[in-house]
Subunit: 330 residues, 2 copies
Amino acid sequence: MNISEFAKEAGVSVSAVSRYFNDGYLSDDKRALIEAAIERTGYVPSYSARMVRSKVTKLVGVILPKLSSESIARITEGIGEVLGEEGFELLLVNTSNDYNREISSLELFRQNRVDGVILLAGVITDLHRSLLAKMRVPTIIVGQKLKGFNCVCHNDLGASYNMTKLMLDKGAKRPAFIGANPEDMAAGKDRRVGFEKAVLDAGLTLDPRFCEIARFSMDSGYEKAKHLFSGREKPDCLFCATDNIAAGAMLYCRENSIRIPEDLMIGAVGDSRFDRVLYVPLSSVHLHYKTAGREGAKMLLSEMKKTSEVHRIVQLEYDVIERESTNRIG
Amino acid sequence: MNISEFAKEAGVSVSAVSRYFNDGYLSDDKRALIEAAIERTGYVPSYSARMVRSKVTKLVGVILPKLSSESIARITEGIGEVLGEEGFELLLVNTSNDYNREISSLELFRQNRVDGVILLAGVITDLHRSLLAKMRVPTIIVGQKLKGFNCVCHNDLGASYNMTKLMLDKGAKRPAFIGANPEDMAAGKDRRVGFEKAVLDAGLTLDPRFCEIARFSMDSGYEKAKHLFSGREKPDCLFCATDNIAAGAMLYCRENSIRIPEDLMIGAVGDSRFDRVLYVPLSSVHLHYKTAGREGAKMLLSEMKKTSEVHRIVQLEYDVIERESTNRIG
DNA sequence: CTTTTTTGTGATACCGCTTTCACATCGTAC
DNA sequence: GTACGATGTGAAAGCGGTATCACAAAAAAG
């Protein structure tokens, strides 16, 4: 059933029906007629047709590197909450960390497909930048700082600095690091810089043999921990860029009777739900992922309303959560 | 730029352009002209306009109760993989376990918004059933068996039966159960029935004081474990409907010096990634979530192609993964 | 009582594309 | 040489809505 059939059924004009579903500039009796007819027929206007003329899709494209990650899931939940309230729906693209899919999704959304875009990316390349600059719809980046664009991000540097400091303050002298891809400015580079700064501020030196780069997985954390402990010199504290990496490293420790925190303190960033039920409850830094998603969505909403082109970067703070894995008396 | 401007730019007719993007019934020289013009202008046809006429949205609605759950994220990843290959995109609705949002999303998708729907639901009510029966687009249910509808589900009964049996075979005599909402036929009812069957088959009796119903969270698992151990009689093995519940229960055990597996064996269903790094590595049953998503998506694709109305229920099998939490010598 | 404004209304052009249709062209069969 | 199907083509009629507009009726202002 289309609008004109429905209008006939309701005994009103096509324009009246259209108004009913839009600005509402309509008398009460017509409104009643239309509502009665909706009740009878279950008529719902076609979204697609509406889009053609009004250029409004009520869709927001969300590009993410994977779904099965607690942090990303929480960000996405936050996004969905805020946008859902405003009647928007999420068009989700999971790029599976595939660079090409990320680019092609941006290309797709750059066109007329959605009213706005939220990008959760790890590594931002020049190609990303140039595509982002050419976006015709408002676009928000969550989880990374990118000058000249609208971003919601975390204080990764502060988080890693303070977690590392926590361990050093307890007397650790041989700090080790398992980080992520440094091309990822947030989880990779910033968390490394924070670690390094804390080490230097404590008057210690950085030992390159105690620095590893892992992928975002437990297995990778396990492997890197193995490598860390393969040398003669052993670290006495370990900062991991993510909880998953830390969990993997912890597994290696258990298998090799490295006591936590007695022999090795471990701290990480992320505060995953499983941290407190790990082999040894893991000290970690809570980042406000869901809030980041909500803030990103709010920022997008305001961008979609106004026409101004002011770019903002919002940085959320963090909470250091101490658990047993760093609970050593200095 | 619209199709007629573009056609002019390319020096061909509007029809030629339309054919280029659709059936491709076109001569090679026109095709070349169009391709050259695309190169120059970056023209992309409007999805919205295309939808109006062709009634094809290339969108699949996915309704899920939450995002930050490993099982759901994995199912959704599987769905995205398969549908992405076929050029479909996912319109995601996170209902946050809100019954009304579930219903209203079904209502929304029942109309002309998407080409197909995949529903991941816990509790299916009569209202769900009647809405599902009235769907005008192909719809697949993942994670639940529902007669008369297309479903991809797990063998929850077999999974819980065998996990329980594993523990009873090792000599446990006082089995306890922490389950989920029994209105959830899969994770709630079937997993309970499997547990009960295993207990009865082992010649034991069901002790109602050893049966708890939890929500899908660690905290809830913790609370229910506390309640289980509050009586005089203590269980010697515990089956939990999900890994999260088990992790919470394990936390209670640690705090109260209940040794695992010596005093209490624990087994669960789900095989979450964190199982092996828990306080005590958790025995669990691996369900093929991602495969379920993939199969659901394939089923949807075949439903969208054909017009027949044959309903199938596909049940996936499972793998029992034994770890330390049940590693007791009977 | 006229003029102006407000409020409500339906006809109709239009959004950007797809589909239908009538027709032109070409190669092949008879 | 004619008949025929296969292939290719552009004009134009939709698809189901929204935006614009002219205009009527009622209310407010003068």
